[in-house]
Amino acid sequence: MFILSLVKDTIPVIPSNLNLEPSIAIRDSINSKYSNKILQDVGLSISLHSIIQSSQGYLQHSNGNVYYKVTFNLLVFRPFIGEILLAKVKSTNQHGIIASIDFFDDIWIPKNQLPEISEFDSAENTFFWLAGWEDGDPFTSSPEQRAYIDIGEQIRIRVEAEHFENVYPTPKKKQLDDQEEAVPTAYRLTASIDGQGLGIVSWWEQDDEDEQDDSAMDQ
């Protein structure tokens, strides 16, 4: 889920940091520029990993900063397609589930990526899963038969797709006008919980031994 990306940039060190070791001052400057930022087609940058190379510092006539041309490795969050992640259910609506992994909240699980025979219970405001349901309308099931996907539960998800979008800042006035319109995020993931072992972690822990029997029988 984490990768290293090689990046080259000109990094300013402000005069108040000139008493620090250059490597520390450069590191802080890189971190404050890149940490918690989404780089287009790279991913969510977390922090500096290592400095590969740096030029000597340059001064410019306009200000007191010292500029370094630095090549460095960034630590980036970018799960690959098909990767299995542990996440938590952040919220649900009738179209799907939003999952979160603490530092990244833009994971969308659409309704068609839920396990087969899942339905939205509008009274509970959550989805439920009916394993092996064959008696027609899912809503005729009793609450005991339904496996609810509650907010805050830990789920195992598989990354299905990633989307990068160029987001431009909108003028303040316009923002106020279209508050209804959802603001697109620069980096989103689409995930699935449809499949054996995916979904709420405890679903599979309880049935551990049954599962082992099942898969032994399959072979």
């Binding site: 990768i3 080259k8 918690n36």
Partner: protein, 184 residues
Amino acid sequence: MQVINTRVGLLSNYEVFSLLKDMQSEHKTHNTSDNVRFIQNETLRYLSDPAFPSTNQNEHVISSLLEQLSQFSTLTTAEKLMIVNIPPKSIVELYVIVEELEDRLSEQDIEAILSIVQSSLNHRADDLSGYSNANPTAPNPDQPLFEDDDEENAKYEMEAAEQEEFENADVGEDEGRAIDEVDE
């Protein structure tokens, strides 16, 4: 800013955890911006979850686990990375990680993998102190445990192709099959 190489290598959760942990301890004596602190604390919080072994893994447990897993030549780098990050404790958890598990591995292999993973989990619980010092062959901390090689890039491109397939859902059955075959 210029991105020279988007993916130099993959990092395991443990490597990220230990890097951020080191940084965090430094921050107590050092002023940092809110953004930096936020993402580092949140990432650490996520990786400290009891579901992850990253809190009590170390380089040697991981490299010995990888060495033992190398006998199963059908496992890809990505799959091994996931085994290290979220160690499977049962068949169903391994089934999620390894695609087409039954076709690629025999029953004995599956059990062998599970017991290797289990013993590596126990190992780090037993004696961690013995590992922390005196390690002549300590892996270079700047070197990711999972090097990105050409094969890996090829796999990544393939995954990108798979994603395209996912996005235009009406791609025929045949094409999907062809991608699977390359995978094996």
